[in-house]
Structures are given as C-alpha cells and as structure tokens.
C-alpha cells in the first residue's frame, strides 16, 4: 500500500493540478501533495515497514509477461526518501517565484515526481521503462516552457540524448526478456538468468548507454550544462538532485546482478577510464566558469564520476558509500541550487563577476551557504565526507581493480580541484566589496531560511551519525554483491 501510494499521490494530484485555477491554489496544492508523499515515505520507513505494506503486484499485460510489480527495498527506501524530501524543499524555496500558467507548472512537477518514484520502485523491467520515460516527458515540457532564453534548443538536445539512450535500453530489455525461460519481465527472473559473456557484453552496452547519458558519464555529458543552465531552477533541482540518481540506481539494480561478467569487466576498464577523464575534465572546466549554474553543473559531473567508479569496485564498503552518497549528493546540490535561485531572484544575475560582498548584506545566507559548500567538498562531519571516504576505501580495497594505484590519486586530485572551484565560488559571491548591484541587498526570507536550515540539519545528521542510513541499504548491497558473485561462481 505504501509503495502504491508513493506513486499514486503525486500522479493523481499532478493530473488534478491541470484543472486548478489560479497560481496560488496550485502552489498550495503541490506543497500539500508533496508533504503528504513525504509523510507516507517516512511512515514506510518507520512504523509501517512490514514487507506486506512495501510491495504491490497486479497483472498488467499477462500476454507479454509483464506485471505491475513494485517494491520498496533498502535502496528504494533511501531514494524515495530523497525524492520525497526534495519536492517540498523545492516548492518552499520557490514559493515567491511567479510562474505564468502556474497550474501547469506544478502539475508537471508532480508528474515528474510520480515518474521518479516509479523508477525507484519498479520491479518489472517494462514498468521500469514506462516510469523512466514518464519522468522525462514532464521535465521536457517544464524546461521548454519555463526555461531561459535558449531553452528550446537546449532541452531538445537533452530530450534527444536521453530518448536515444532509453530506446537502446529498450532493445536491451527486450533481448533480456527473450532470453528468460517463461518470457517474463520480472526482475527475479532476470536475476536468475545465466548469460554467455559475449552476449552480456552487448546487452551491457545497450543498457549502460542509457544510464550513462542520464548520470552523465564523460562522453555523453554535453547536454547537461546547457540544460541545467536553461531550465527554471526548480526543474534543475529535480534534474540534478534526483534524476541523475536514476542512472546510478539503474546500474546497481538492473545491470550488476543481471550481467555481472560484463558489468565488472567493462566497469573495471572502459567505464572507469571514462569516468576519471570526465572527473578531471569537468573539474577543470568548473574552475573557469563564470555562471554559477554552469559551475555547479560541471561539479555534478565530477561528483557523479567518483560514484560511477565506486559502483564497479565490487566491494561492500564502496557500494555502501555510493548508496549514502546518492542521498547526500542530492541534498547538497539542491542546497546549492537554492542559493543560486535566491541570488538570481534578488539580483537578477548568476555571474560570479557581477556579484560580491553578499556576506555583509545577508549574513544568515552566508553562513548556510558556506556550510553547504563545505559539505559538497566533503569536509569531515558533513554528510559527503562519509560517502566519499567509504567510496575511496572501496576503490582502494577493490578485489577486481588492477589500476587503483592510478585511479585513486586521479580521483583524489578532483577532490582538491573541487575544493578550489567551490571555494572560488563562495569567495566571489560572499566576500570582497559590494558593488552597485549588491549594495542594496538584504537577507533571505523565512521560507528560504527554513529550507536551507532543513538541508544543513540533514548534512550534519548524516555526517555525524550515518549508521541508520547505512543499515537501511546494507541488505540491498549484500544482496546485489552476492547475486553477482553467485552468478559468476555458477559459470565457473
């Protein structure tokens, strides 16, 4: 029931929002709906976490072996929680933003939330594919209708990129289904498949391209900075906070246990090399950016790169690090976007060269901004430290990596570069002298303060006491690694 509600509430309230009149009603409606989802998600995490509540299954297209099957496992819980937290935060911070046709805006936002929830819950490959696209379509409309000047070209590029990826993934899914003995899309039958290594390689390529585009990994990243820059900030938050996690998540759930040979085979070499190149490349580019949005977009590529490497390290601690870091990265980057949104709304610019001295005018924002920035460069006691430390340990102790002596220093370099560009941004925005533009600045509003304080609180909670989160995903991690191991053993 919980699982079903997590999809149904945003879906139905999203459809309902199309018929609302007036921007204010729609705003309240969206906030209430997203808070309700958050409550359901928390209930599922604590009081109502009996297995019966967390899954739902009904026949959907029996003639082709697909059933509407959803279930919350540990990883699903974590990512659904991230989705459920993100949306109220987004709605609260953008409360004062006036959108034209606001009811459509909020309706599409809620629909994309439904799509994201579905992706994290789906236990049937076809259902997974449906929600994968359902999350994409509303975002396309959101960016194209409410975005910046060059929005149409930018979001079109984004759409074509991801759509090509997902269609190729569809071929992979169909191929996997045709290999199953009873022609079923169910994830458990996928897990039982024993596939020749050469075939695995092909299917891995098909499916990984879709996920790599979504994350994005180096050669497929070029849509991302443009789209982040041109989208309305609320949508950028969804894209970077939650949607990029779809790619990472899908690799963990749909690739590692199903195609272990190919995943770890490619993962150890090709993917890792590309990820490392991407990390260094994105970090260097981030240092040269003048637009805050573009800077954060490139920093996201660098952060995701590290997670990609850790996924393929085949070590428990590395995988656990990825799990918790998916949550942390979402929280931190949403925090950064909130700051960008506040600054852009108030001063009408995101250019680092045009800002300065905000710490004098907005002390509360300055404190919160610095904490979030420090969290995103993984200082101890913040959440990202836990994740990155575990991932580095995992990569270093990985049983399969042969080149960790080269990977780890290269990735470590990116942590340093990360500190450089993040602190450059903080310095240029907050410190120095005020100029004519920032002269008449004032501090942030209550709603913005609330949202940022929630984020800072989460940063410290996870940073100081991450154990509950690690316990949550422990089972999933072990299950996936065991599954991969046992399949490999079966072959030998």
């Amino acid at each position: 029931m919980i699982a079903l509600l997590l999809i149904l509430i945003p879906l139905l309230s999203g459809v309902g929002a199309f018929f609302l009149k007036g921007g204010n009603n729609a705003r309240v409606w969206a906030l209430v709906s997203s808070l309700l989802t958050l409550i359901i998600s928390l209930l599922g995490l604590t009081v109502l976490n009996q297995p019966g509540n967390l899954q739902f299954r009904v026949d959907w297209m029996p003639e082709i072996g697909s059933s509407f099957s959803i279930r919350l496992d540990g990883m699903g819980q974590l990512l659904c929680l991230l989705t459920a937290i993100s949306f109220p935060l987004i709605f609260i911070t953008t409360w004062n933003h006036v959108y034209k046709n606001a009811h459509n805006f909020f309706a599409l936002m809620l629909l994309s939330q439904a799509g994201l929830m579905g992706v994290f819950l789906a236990m049937d490959a076809l259902v997974f594919y449906f929600f994968w696209e359902l999350a994409l379509i509303p975002v396309y409309f959101l960016c194209s209708a409410w975005g910046g000047e060059k929005r149409i070209a930018a979001t079109f590029k984004f759409f074509i990129y991801t759509f090509v990826g997902s269609l190729i993934m569809l071929v992979g899914i169909i191929y996997l289904q045709s290999l199953t003995p009873n022609h079923s899309f169910d994830i458990s039958t996928f897990y039982k498949l024993v596939i020749l290594e050469k075939t695995q390689g092909w299917i891995f390529l098909f499916m990984f391209i879709a996920f790599a585009i979504k994350m994005p990994v180096f050669p497929f990243h070029s849509w991302q900075p443009d789209t982040y820059e041109q989208s309305p900030t609320a949508t950028t938050m969804v894209l970077s906070g939650v949607m990029v996690k779809m790619g990472l998540f899908a690799v963990i759930r749909w690739l590692l246990p199903v195609l272990p040979d190919a995943s770890f085979g490619y993962g150890e070499t090709t993917v890792t090399i590309f990820a490392v190149i991407g990390m260094i490349y994105a970090s260097l580019l981030a240092m040269r950016q003048n637009d805050m949005k573009r800077l954060i977009a490139y920093s996201s590529i660098a952060h995701i790169g590290l997670m990609v490497i850790a996924i393929f390290s085949e070590s428990e601690i590395g995988m656990q690090g990825v799990m918790i870091q998916m949550f942390n990265h979402g929280i931190n980057i949403i925090g950064l976007w909130i700051i960008v949104e506040i600054i852009e709304q108030k001063y009408g610019t995101r250019k680092l060269s045009e800002l300065g001295g905000l710490a004098q005018k907005a002390p509360a924002m300055a404190i919160l901004f610095v904490i979030i920035a420090l969290a995103s460069i993984a200082l101890p006691l913040t959440n990202a430290f836990v994740g990155e430390f575990m991932m580095f340990t995992g990569i270093f102790t990985s049983p399969i990596f042969r080149y960790e002596m080269y990977i780890v220093p290269a990735a470590g370099l990116c942590i340093i570069l990360g500190a450089v560009y993040t602190l450059i941004m903080v310095q240029k925005v907050l410190y120095g002298n005020t100029n004519t533009l920032t002269e008449k600045g004032s501090d942030i509003r209550l709603n913005e303060k609330v949202a940022l304080i929630i984020i800072v609180a989460l940063i410290f909670v996870v940073g100081i006491y991450p154990q509950p989160f690690l316990d949550l995903t422990k089972d999933t991690t072990n299950f996936i690694l065991n599954e991969a191991d046992s399949l490999k053993a079966l072959k030998k």
């Binding site: 297209m61 003639e63 082709i64 594919y129 449906f130 696209e133 359902l134 379509i137 409309f141 194209s144 209708a145 929005r151 149409i152 079109f156 759409f159 074509i160 759509f163 090509v164 269609l167 190729i168 569809l170 071929v171 169909i174 191929y175 289904q177 045709s178």
Partner: protein, 457 residues
Amino acid sequence: MNALIILAIFGVLMMFSGLLLKQKSLIRLLAIAGLFISLLANILETRGIHFFSIHTEGMLNFDRFALFFNSILLGCTFIFFLLTAKEIEKVGKNYADYFALIFFIHCGIVLASSFSSLLILFLGIEIISIPLYILTGSDKRNLKSNEASLKYFLLGAFSTGLMLMGITLIYGEAGTFVVNNLHSVDKAPGVLLIAGIMLLLFSMSFKVSAAPFHFWTPDVYDGAPTVFTSFMATIVKAAGFIAFIRLFYYGFGNITGEWQFIIAIITALTLFIGNITAIFQQSVKRMLAYSSIAQAGFMMMALLAMNNTSTEGILLYITAYSLSTIGLFAILVKMKDYTFDGFNGFAKHQPLLAGAAVIFLLSLAGIPLTAGFISKFYMLKAVVQTGQFLWLVILAVLMAAVSVYYYFRVIQAMYFKEGAAPTLEISNSFKWTISIVAVFIILAGIFPQLIFHWFYF
C-alpha cells in the same frame, strides 16, 4: 461477408443520395449511419452471426484475423467520418459521390484482407486503387491535385501490371491461384515462382509506399485534398499491409529464405529514407507524408518477423498509427496555414486541441503510455524473437529517435512559440471527438488488452 455486402449496398445508395437528398447534412448522416451499420454487422460476424450465406468457392476466407482487422479499419473510418465528414463538403460539388467512393474502397479492403485466391487479391487491390485515383484528383481546379492524381494513376497502373505479371508467373509454376497451395514443401522453388514472388513483392511495396518504391507518396499525399490524404495514409495503407502480410504468410511462409532478406533491406531503406527526409520538410502535411513512409518501415517489420507477436503487433500498430494520424490530419484540416510556423501559438488559442495533438504526436513518436509505444514495442519484440536482424532493430530504434525531431517540432511550435495560429471555425462536437480519440490512445497504451480482448475471446 456481412460487411462486404452491406458496404456495397451503401455504396450504391450513396451514389443516388446525391440526386435524391437535397440537404447535405442528411447525406452525411446517411454515410455515418451506413458505416456504423457495416461496423456492427462485421462485429456480429466475429461473434458468429452471419446475415448472408454465399458460397465463395474457397476464394474468400473470413477468418478471425481478417474480421478483426476489418472491425478496426471500419472503426477508424467511422471516426474519420465523425471528425472530417464536414470538411469533405468543401472539396468539391459531388459530396455524395465521395462517400460512395469511400464505401467502395472499403469493399476492396474487405476483399484484400480476406482473400485466399490470388485473383481476389488482385480484385481487392484494384477496387481500392481506382476510387483513390478519383479522390486524389477530386479538387478539380487545383493543379497540384490534378498532377497528383495523374502521377498516382500512372505509377499505380504500372505497379498493378507488375502484380498481374507476378500472379501469372506464379500460376505458371503452381498451376493454381489458391494461396495456400502455391508451393509444396517437397521440391525446391523454381525460377518462375521466385520471379513471381519478387514481382508481387515489388508491387505490394509500391502500394504500401515502402522505399525504394515510395517516390509517388509525398507528391500524391501533398497534392490530394487533405481530408483524403488522411484516409489514404492510414486506412488504405493499413489495408495494403494486411494484404501483403496475408499473401506472404499463407502463400510463401514456408520459403522465407527466398525473400526475407530482401524484405529486411526494404525495411531498413524505408525507415532510413522516411525519417531522414521528414526532417527537412517545412509543411506539416508533407512531413506527415514522409512520416507515413517511416511508419510503414515499422509495419514492414511484421512481415519480416512472421510470428504470433508480429500478428498481434501489426493489429495494434495499425490501430495506434491510424487513429493518431487521423486525429492529426483532422486538426491539420482546420488550420489555415499548413507550415510548421502556422502552428505557432496554437496551444494558447486551442488548449484542448493542442493537448490532443500532443498525445497523437507522442503516440506516433512511440513515447510510453501511448498506444504508439506499445505497438512499436511489439514490433521490436517480434523481430528480436526471430533471433536474426538485430542490426535492423538497432536501426529502427535510432530512426525512432530521429522521428522525435520532426514530431516535436510541431509541439515546440504549438507550445513554446508565439503566434496567432489562424484556424477555421471549430465546433464543440469536434473537440469532444478528438478528446475521446486521444483518451483512447492513452488507454490503449496502458491497457492494450482493451484491443486484444476482441482478438482473444
């Protein structure tokens, strides 16, 4: 048989109604009623109720597949009438005749979809084609319409000639017209048979506008009055496919090795040429013509795969494709400007129609939650199941991604660009019908059993 005879009777009735009935609304009503009755009669026949018992000497075989397919096409034409019957009036003076011709075409469709003798196939294809030549040229004072009609007629006659020659050659070897006995398994197919199959393959490819036999399509579709383009691109094309599939499935299904690879090449070419050329079009009508070639590429995959999935898939595909295209054309007919720019700002002035158009376009592009996705999915699955032609699946998928480009250009124009989007007068009933079709496409995308229930009961 029910539908065939009722359709023929109504065809004749419609011809005279032009003389007898003075009011145009009455003629229209009669046509819609006639089609509805034919549809009902056909559905009843699916249920085992026969109105007429005529012995066809084994030349016609009304199996479940044929009947079900006819129900789909009659349903599509019914919706086509509901949406655009009024617009047919603007084409020319002979209002009732156009309806009569459409009824006759449907007779041809019934023949072409239930033949079991090559003669009936030929007859069916001809009965479909000849009224179409007239409909294409029905806008008499428009030079483009005349040109299209002549072009269509000359090339159509040529391909019919090829078909006839193919049938003769096959008769020369097999000594029969009965489709099921064309080839016996115990001996290798002879030269005459292979040559005949090739000629039939080329002429049928021409009828369904598969590349490289597609060159007539854009000009004819563009030149014909838009209402009839809508009919030609959907219902007639679907009928061509069913005849094609039936012929090769029953007739040459046991010697697939002889022709399957050629079909694969034709499919790949059709997908490639249709999609790539559609990108460069400036007029939505012409874009839809190329898109219909591209979609034909996907339907060709059913011919290639020849398994259960593909038979179900082609029915779904035809339903999804026809309904979406009819819907889009119905909206296009209401536009004053057929270029992409003509759609600028359409969403602001006609939010409901723009929403429906988005659903049609998403369905044509094959986005999940629409019928278009599920039918494309079936096609891809059917080909993957054969275990060969994986390269074709990849090509098809890439081309589907290309198709997003030109379909989404319409969406961009409607939603994200400013403009006046001049339209003709739009009635409320039109809006309602369009919305119902759009909702049906979504429903069929989520619960494809809605369609299959009829097939499987």
